[in-house]
């Protein structure tokens, strides 16, 4: 197993990590020669917790890539996202010409038994050098303990949700982040934490949020600007390319204004929904998908397709009393 990388700019990785670092403490990094995936899942209950899958293009991010492993040159690591992010920020401030990333086995003689109990047997070493005011070279080396995921169980858990059926798909404008600020105040009331998302293609497209607390208030927040709400073709498969294509090229037949089944609604935890606010605020392109079981925010960090962030939130079934 070998991981050797060198980069000059960590901007894309740093921004991506900073967007998701609030959500969970540990992330899984999956290195392949073409793609780096940053995956946030909860090991215990994959289905109910929100998941984030970030896909970064290796070749645009790193100038030197050496990845070797026995399993299709794929390396899976679990790492503390805050430590990694802090190191990348240090590198950013140092005004250095390049950052090297290596996967290193922990020195078994040195820190024996220190980290073995939690399985963090290896470390990801990040090192760079810069010149100080007296033109002396300073070498910085950071070692972040990581856990290498090998067993088939670990990788079986890591399966990106498949979108077999998508009800509605729409692109959200950059101003949409204002709705997150409006919803924020309702997070205080802990006992009723569900928000119902309603969307339809009828009457020119609609997207709204409904929140209710018994005996206190009922809130409806709806988007006033034009939204191109579309219904994708039933046979389309939902990888990032087809979603992009669908949004950019409207092949929609137009809704049946009389058909009430056009109206879709799904309830999610307000907390889960609000966690995406940073992602929605930062990403250039945000596409929102409603499926019968979940809502998905499919985001592109920049105008290019180098960084893709996909946020899955599982729907909660509302008890009909």
């Amino acid at each position: 197993m070998k991981l050797k990388l060198r980069t000059q700019s960590t901007e894309a990785l740093k921004t991506t990590l900073s967007l998701i670092s609030q959500i969970r403490r540990f992330v899984i990094l999956q290195f392949t020669p073409s793609q780096l995936q940053v995956i946030l899942v909860n090991g215990q209950s994959v289905t109910l917790e929100p998941q984030v899958w970030c896909k970064l293009n290796m070749t645009t991010m790193f100038d030197q890539i050496e990845i070797q492993s026995l399993r299709d040159n794929t390396i899976l690591l679990e790492i503390n996202v805050e430590l990694l992010l802090q190191t990348l920020r240090n590198f950013d401030r140092a005004n250095s010409d390049g950052l090297n990333i290596r996967l290193q086995r922990k020195d078994s003689a040195g820190g024996q038994g220190v980290n073995t109990h939690n399985g963090r047997t290896a470390s990801l070493a990040l090192f760079y050098s810069n010149f100080n005011a007296n033109t002396n070279t300073i070498n910085h080396t950071f070692r972040i303990p990581v856990k290498i995921l090998k067993s088939s169980h670990d990788s079986a858990m890591l399966r990106e949700p498949e979108l077999s059926e998508v009800d509605l798909i729409m692109r959200l404008p950059p101003e949409f982040v204002a709705t997150y600020k409006r919803l924020e105040k309702f997070k205080k009331t802990a006992n009723n934490d569900l928000v119902t998302i309603k969307a339809t293609r009828r009457s020119g497209g609609f997207l709204g949020f409904v929140l209710e607390e018994d005996g206190k208030y009922k809130v409806t927040i709806s988007w006033n600007q034009q939204l191109e709400v579309q219904k994708p073709n039933a046979d389309a498969n939902f990888d990032s390319d087809s979603i992009r294509l669908a949004v950019l090229k409207n092949q929609d037949q137009g809704p049946d204004e009389e058909d009430p089944s056009e109206d879709k609604e799904i309830s999610v935890r307000l907390k889960d929904w609000q966690m995406a606010s940073k992602i929605v605020a930062t990403c250039k392109t945000v596409v929102f998908l409603i499926t019968p079981r979940e809502v998905v925010l499919h985001c592109m960090l920049e105008d290019s397709e180098d960084v893709e962030i996909i946020y899955y939130i599982a729907g909660i079934r509302r008890d009909p009393f």
């Binding site: 101003e175 600020k181 205080k188 709806s222």
Partner: protein
């Protein structure tokens, strides 16, 4: 706060409620519209400090929000209809015909509803916060810079309906239905003048003091008082006429207006002197009963002190910070009324929103004594500070004592500054004079005085020293 326990106040209103069912044929409804979201967010949040729940009264003359805390404080917010671009209060009869005349007594003139004002305040605050920040985010985007202001709509269709507040701009709409409920607040202005109900409202026939202050200085002062963990707040007012110059018979006299805030807290006492310049302390008038005519208050030159629980008093802080001018009234029943005028910078033509707080004095020393003699500030003040370390003294009579001392010493002694010692001696000045005369050397006299104090200390009545430091004496 739903009226599970109905007190006597409510039941008296309940009889009015019966009349309501009588006039059931009339239906009042209210709708209004404004773009002044930030101003409403400010004024609503300023009154939530007292109680999250409030009574809202909607009248053709404006919106009143009234709330109270523990029967010791209350607050009223008056929003003028001129803040709204549309303000309509309509009464319809059973045939849905709008009634315009108020001739029929059964026609309702107001709508009353219980609301959770902290929820409303949160809603306004989040809208006020989210609208300018979207502008800041894209400063290069001209479309965003000229985005529509948020318009806010109020709708209330009477009892049983929710209060609906909608916020709308070109991006989104937010419609909040606030459920309304009955409150058990007795609205004190209902029973005004009713002698049976002693309500927490200023009695304008018995005004004892009147102050007009500049709010920014007052809010800084309150922040300082809060920072030192004030427990009790004494407000000292004085407009006594003082002689100018050294001699006590000086013919030039002037009115010495003083407003002092004295804090009592864990670190001891602190006196903050409010600046007496006319531009900052715009008005200070004290009233006393005219001895010739009964129940008629006339302006007098005197001093007055009153005490308030600071934890409760500081609840006015947010409103003071918001306001531009502050009027403080106190009546003979110990009710302090703080009226705060909050201007709206965006709408210069708007007269301003009025927030009125009422606080009850912790204890009043004037109730019975007042009939016999006028305000006995010195005696009252001395009884407030029961530890006998602090006593009432005015600068004027302290100076006079000092002068007398020098005269008796034939000016031999060095000019001593006003010290704690001279302060201590003041109540016993009759014996003091003799003592000082006996000692023809000033230095010796001072030493003797110290000894006497030490003696007092032994008796447990003198200076208390804490960790070697002498408590700061309080001069008034």
């Amino acid at each position: 706060m739903t009226g599970l326990f109905v007190d006597s106040q409510i039941s008296s209103q309940g009889s009015e409620g019966d009349n309501d069912t009588h006039r059931g044929t009339y239906l009042a409804s209210f709708s209004a519209c404004t773009t002044q979201v930030a101003h409403l967010a400010d004024v609503f949040s300023a009154i939530t400090t007292l109680n999250p729940q409030a009574l809202m009264i909607i009248k053709p003359s404006g919106i009143v929000v009234y709330s109270e805390y523990n029967h010791v404080s209350n607050v009223q917010l008056n929003v003028d209809p001129s803040l709204f671009s549309l303000f309509s209060f309509l009464v319809r009869d059973a045939n849905d015909v709008v009634i315009l005349s108020q001739e029929d007594l059964d026609v309702p003139t107001e709508l009353r509803l219980g609301v959770d004002v902290s929820l409303i305040s949160d809603a306004f605050a989040s809208v006020a916060a989210s609208s300018p920040s979207t502008k800041l985010k894209n400063p290069n985007n001209p479309a965003n810079n000229h985005s529509d202001p948020v318009t806010c709509y109020f709708t209330y269709n009477g009892e049983g309906h929710p209060l609906v507040i909608e916020f709308e701009d070109n991006l989104m709409s937010e419609k909040i239905e606030f459920l309304t409920f009955y409150t058990d607040f007795a609205y004190p202005y209902d029973s005004l003048g009713d002698s049976e109900h002693e309500e927490l409202v200023i009695n304008h026939n018995q005004i004892q003091s009147e102050l007009i202050l500049k709010s920014d200085v007052f809010s800084n002062l309150l922040a300082d008082l809060h920072q030192i963990n004030t427990v009790e707040l004494y407000i000292y007012l004085s407009n006594e006429a003082r002689g100018l110059g050294k001699s006590k018979n000086s013919k030039i006299r002037f009115t010495d207006s003083q407003l002092n805030f004295i804090s009592r807290g864990p670190i001891g006492h602190l006196k903050l002197i409010y600046p007496s310049e006319r531009t900052i302390l715009e008005k200070l008038v004290l009233y006393g009963k005219d001895p010739t005519k009964k129940y008629n208050m006339v302006p007098v030159n005197t001093s007055l002190i009153s005490c308030y629980n600071f934890a409760n008093f500081i609840k006015i802080f947010r409103a003071v910070k918001l306001s531009s001018k502050c009027k403080i009234l106190k009546d003979l029943n110990g009710v302090l009324s703080i009226q705060l005028l909050c201007k709206n910078n965006i709408l210069p033509t708007y007269a301003g929103t009025l927030i009125t707080f009422h606080h009850l004095e912790v204890s009043s020393y004037l109730d019975e004594d007042f009939q016999k003699d006028q305000v006995e500030t010195a005696r009252n003040f001395n009884s407030i500070f029961d530890d006998e370390n602090y006593e009432y003294a005015t600068d004027a009579n302290a100076k006079e004592i000092a002068i007398e001392e020098y005269q008796e010493l034939d000016m031999e002694a060095e000019k001593t500054r006003l010290t704690y010692a001279s302060f201590m001696n003041q109540p016993n000045s009759n014996s003091n004079g003799g003592k000082m005369a006996d000692n023809n050397r000033g230095q010796e006299g001072l030493q003797k005085k110290r000894k006497r104090e030490d003696k007092l200390d032994d008796n447990g009545k003198g200076i208390h020293t804490v960790g070697g430091a002498v408590e700061v004496p309080l001069f008034l």
